[in-house]
């Protein structure tokens, strides 16, 4: 190993162009980011800034046009199920499987023995605070519970990185706030490195150690903000001045005059 895997994520000079010729669209331009072990980094930006493209490329679902993505010091070329667990905006649970079976799903694709699968899935269920509902089907769970099952599924292979793509975007505000508390607790207990994509300014600040602010046309990172709020974070911080100031700062970066028409 030439470089110690000190950075779980090392993205350098990443670009993505869709289409070619006159219809070519530059979705991402020269994006670089590094994430150290155990850190919680959020990416925030307006819709169309390429943050979802960024996440799809890191998850290996979409090929890169230029640049390089390294996870644990190794360049990736496709999905890395052992290294990356993904949580999507919709929970995307298999409706014909129970919560527990859904968490087992990533392991069932490989050759993990059944007993070990169930054991690990049960542990994950406990971690996300749902140990009593493993036998329920997705439609018997609330939206928040479904998303927690999805988080458990993302963590079940013990990945180096948990990639979360607007995971709470479809939840109502109260459920979302509760999920913030849950996610912070899960992050603390599991110690997993998290890359969290969101369009919510408050969310990006409240959860993360570092916020990457993106702008569109072409999609790029315009600022990195170190969040110096103390950990463990209490929900009361949401009303604090420090959080408010950081939020306002990001808003100033994102809200360009030419956006005013949309507002």
């Amino acid at each position: 190993m030439n470089t110690t895997p000190h950075h779980v994520v090392d993205v350098s000079h990443l670009s993505k162009t869709f289409g070619d010729g006159k219809t070519a669209f530059r979705a991402l331009n020269d994006v670089s980011l590094q994430i150290k072990q155990g850190r919680f980094v959020s990416v925030v930006g307006p819709s169309g800034c390429g943050k979802s493209t960024l996440m799809q490329m890191i998850s290996g679902l979409v090929p890169t046009t230029q640049g390089n993505i390294q996870i644990d010091g190794k360049t990736i070329t496709g999905p890395q199920p052992e290294k990356i667990g993904v949580v999507f905006q919709d929970a995307l649970l298999l409706p014909w499987k129970t919560a527990l079976e859904n968490i087992e799903f990533p392991l069932s694709l490989g050759d993990t023995p059944v007993a070990e699968r169930q054991e690990r899935a049960r542990n994950m269920l406990k971690l996300v605070g749902l140990k009593d509902v493993g036998h329920r089907y997705p439609h018997e769970l609330s939206g928040g519970m479904r998303q927690r099952v999805a988080i458990a599924r993302g963590l079940v292979r013990n990945p180096s990185l948990l990639l979360m793509d607007e995971p709470f975007g479809a939840l109502d505000e109260q459920t979302r706030t509760r999920m913030w508390g849950e996610l912070l607790r899960i992050h603390e207990q599991s110690g997993t490195t998290i890359l969290f994509i969101t369009h919510s300014l408050v969310e990006s600040v409240f959860l993360a150690d570092e916020v990457l602010v993106m702008a569109s046309n072409p999609g790029r990172i315009i600022e990195r903000i170190e969040v110096d709020l103390p950990r463990p974070r209490d929900l009361k911080l949401l009303g604090s001045e420090r959080l408010g100031n950081l939020r306002n700062h990001i808003w100033d970066l994102i809200a360009k005059p030419d956006d005013e028409i949309d507002a």
Partner: protein
């Protein structure tokens, strides 16, 4: 609570259907007995069923049943996999879809029965002609079902499985198959019904054997009891098959789509 309500509704609908059929049977029976309609033209139901019993014990008619069933099964067993596979391929390959979907749509709208004389000229009037006609008739109904089956698969679930390292065959087996199952079963059901439709129609048009041939003969010779008995037989069998397959389909749908796709 909502589940109870909906099952209650389902039972009410079933009760209403059973009542309707029973009422119709009653009106039929009495109309024949009281000679509202000439019983020679519309014999009472009881006489039709008595005749059906007699027909079923007649070894010649039983031979016709065997032939029709064999023809239906042959057409069904060929056309369902063929149609579904064509549908899947078209839905999976944008190139194929672009190439064939206009042709397919054109052929779908054409009434296939007008080609029956051509089929007879090409293949004669025996077993294979009827089977081929039934296959052609059913094929254009199953293909769109196959396309719809693939299109009903939520792309999110596929992306999810892929991100967790599922191979293409795992995606087909563990995401596609269960997600598409309700519509695959629809295709199977339609395949069976339209195979029967095609076979009996072809038999009635030109054939020396089979249920359809008998129905036509008895109709032409005003043998109303036998005619209705044979029609009743086909009716009962079709309804039973349809209801059974629909029950399986509903079960599959409930399993795959229970709750929202979250």
């Amino acid at each position: 609570m909502t589940h109870q309500l909906s099952t209650q509704k389902i039972w009410l609908a079933r009760l209403w259907r059973a009542g309707f059929v029973l009422g119709l049977a009653l009106v039929w029976e009495t109309s024949g007995r009281l000679a509202w309609i000439d019983p020679e033209l519309l014999p009472p139901l009881s006489r039709i069923f008595k005749m059906l019993g007699r027909l079923l014990s007649d070894h010649r008619f039983r031979g016709d049943i065997v032939i029709t069933v064999l023809e239906c099964l042959t057409a069904f067993l060929i056309v369902v996999p063929l149609g579904l596979f064509s549908g899947f391929s078209l839905a999976e390959s944008p190139k194929l879809y672009k190439l064939f979907s206009p042709v397919l749509q054109l052929l779908m709208t054409v009434p296939k029965s007008i080609f029956l004389p051509v089929f007879i000229l090409l293949f004669g009037i025996d077993f294979s002609e009827k089977v081929i006609f039934a296959i052609v008739l059913s094929y254009f109904i199953i293909v769109p079902t196959g396309i719809a089956a693939v299109q009903s698969i939520p792309s999110g679930l596929v992306a999810m499985a892929r991100s967790f390292g599922a191979t293409q065959s795992q995606i087909y087996l563990r995401i596609y198959l269960p997600c598409a199952m309700p519509l695959i079963l629809s295709g199977v059901r339609l395949g069976l019904i339209f195979s029967m439709h095609g076979i009996i129609f072809a038999e009635m048009y030109a054939s020396s054997e089979g249920i359809g041939r008998n129905i036509l003969n008895w109709g032409e010779s005003f043998d109303m009891e036998r005619l209705f008995a044979a029609v009743m037989l086909v009716l009962i069998v079709t309804v039973l098959i349809n209801e059974t397959l629909q029950a399986i389909e509903t079960y599959a749908r409930r399993r795959t789509l229970s709750g929202a796709m979250h």
